[in-house]
């Protein structure tokens, strides 16, 4: 028996489902290109595996470089979805609804690359399971391992559950897709029937999980920062590193949502379901985050500067006037100065400017991660008088980084061709309370036909 479901009415349904119905030649070329980039990354990684980590630019004392930067960046990017859909869900911000899935998809597709970055950085990746069989909970890496894998598994579930009614929609509406694709919808829909009670329970679970995920967001990124914070290296060993990383994560994540939304809107003609107002709401959030970032920067560096502790100052001057001058000031301009100016003077009602600012923010945030991690290593506590480190990434690191971003784009692009990227059931008509009582829901969705 084929399960069929009741679906709430949504006048944009046809437009939202259009991208799922035909995969264009451009799509295929794009996917091929991205796959090619991933292949290059694979080649570089095989080289690193067979020859050794020496093919990277890492050295002594700069033992961690681009890979760890990517790790922090990807995990940060992943906070976009959870922030938009979990925290704003709790806050009852109705405007978030059309963009929840687009944001959560970023979470889902960037997290695996954060995890992969760690594996790529390991000298003996085949011994990864030692972390399970011999795990020591004193090591902050174990905290990371626990928190990130829990986060990955929870966001997959959160994402999947909120996708469930829409998979059922695909199953029922898209009858002319290839057989395997239809079969996939059938399996993934888990026999969803859209009964009012099912919707009711779904909302309740999503609300509950939103609280849990909001806590996880804070935990995960704080724990990521503690990998650095728990050492006694100058520049890392500060209590501010947790909040700073967290703010940066949500900041870059929200900016990434802007980019994703703009692309989706343009390519899939979703102008009506992703209205301009969304960008204006995100603009306000981003202004707050930009200023928050400045606040963190000032607190951190002013404290170091006034403390004037010799080993801290070595790192401080590395950033302000030393080897990392260019990166440091570029970061400040890219993350703070230009975006803030754009947001205030140009961002309103202008998607182009918003995307420009968001791209700058994400480039700048990647640099920020790099500038937090590497300068400290070039001037470690004792060695700053004895050995002074430098670091120049090699092509292997560059190619692997590019391939990881390509992988993220590929997953995202493919996903949008098989699943509706705007939640159809959540944006259904009759705007009202977030979780209406069951009786009202019944009226909205009707009884089973």
């Amino acid at each position: 028996m084929k399960a069929r479901s009741v679906h709430p009415d949504n006048k944009h349904e046809a437009i939202i489902l259009t991208p799922l119905q035909d995969i264009t030649t451009i799509d295929r070329w794009l996917w091929a290109l991205l796959l090619g980039l991933i292949g290059l990354g694979g080649y570089a990684y095989v080289r690193q595996l067979t020859l050794g980590m020496g093919v990277t630019g890492m050295n002594r004392p700069v033992y961690w470089g681009v890979y760890i930067t990517n790790f922090v960046f990807f995990i940060g990017l992943a906070h976009s979805g959870t922030f938009i859909s979990a925290i704003l869900r709790l806050a009852g911000a109705e405007w978030r609804k059309p963009l929840t899935r687009a944001a959560e998809a970023i979470t889902l597709f960037s997290l695996p690359f954060g995890v992969a970055s760690i594996v790529v950085d390991m000298g003996r990746p085949e011994r990864l399971l030692n972390v399970i069989s011999h795990g020591r909970f004193q090591s902050p890496l174990l905290w990371d391992f626990t928190a990130v894998s829990l986060y990955l598994c929870s966001s997959v579930v959160f994402f999947y559950l909120s996708l469930l009614p829409d998979i059922a929609l695909c199953r029922d509406r898209l009858t002319d897709v290839p057989a395997w694709q239809h079969r996939m919808y059938e399996i993934l829909a888990l026999g969803w029937q859209g009964r009012p009670e099912q919707f009711h329970r779904l909302e309740r679970v999503l609300d509950g999980m939103a609280i849990f995920l909001a806590m996880l967001v804070v935990t995960v990124h704080t724990v990521v920062s503690w990998v650095f914070g728990m050492t006694i290296q100058p520049g890392w060993h500060t209590a501010l590193i947790g909040p700073f990383f967290l703010l940066g994560a949500i900041f870059s994540g929200t900016a990434a949502v802007v980019i994703a939304l703009a692309i989706l809107r343009r390519v899939y003609h979703l102008e009506e379901s992703l209205p301009l107002g969304l960008f204006n709401s995100l603009r306000k959030l981003l202004i707050v985050f930009t200023l928050g970032w400045l606040y963190m920067m000032v607190s951190e560096f002013l404290t170091i500067f006034y403390g004037n502790i010799p080993e801290e100052m070595e790192v401080f001057w590395q950033k302000f006037t030393g080897d990392f001058t260019w990166l440091f000031w570029a970061m400040t301009i890219l993350v703070f100065v230009v975006p803030l100016l754009i947001f205030i003077f140009r961002g309103k009602d202008s998607i182009g400017w918003m995307v420009t600012a968001s791209v700058l923010i994400n480039v700048g945030m990647w640099l920020e991660r790099f500038v937090v991690i590497v300068p400290t290593e070039t001037r470690p506590r004792l060695l700053y008088e004895l050995v002074q480190g430098t670091y120049r990434p090699t092509w292997v690191e560059a190619v692997i980084t590019v391939s990881m971003f390509a992988g993220m784009f590929l997953l995202y692009a493919v996903f949008t061709r098989f699943f509706p990227i705007v939640p159809v059931w959540e944006t259904a008509e009759e705007p009202g309370a977030e979780v209406p009582p069951v009786t009202r829901r019944r009226r909205r969705f009707g009884v089973r036909r």
Binding site: I132, R136, Q138, S149, L161, P196
Partner: protein, 54 residues
């Protein structure tokens, strides 16, 4: 062994950390499976009665 030593050993011995990871993930996984089933079962009882009435 005092309680302090026991807590210390939990953190410093290789092994318990892995157990924690497995427990946390296993528990979360089990809860998520149960929640998903609970959602899908929503309204099933009700429908059963209706069918019987018919």
């Amino acid at each position: 062994m005092t309680i302090g030593e026991l807590i210390g050993a939990f953190f410093t011995t290789p092994g318990p950390g892995g157990v924690v990871v497995i427990l946390v993930l296993g528990l979360a996984g089990a809860i998520y499976v149960l929640l998903t089933r609970w959602i899908l079962q929503g309204g099933q009882a009700e429908e059963g009665t209706m069918r019987r009435l018919r």
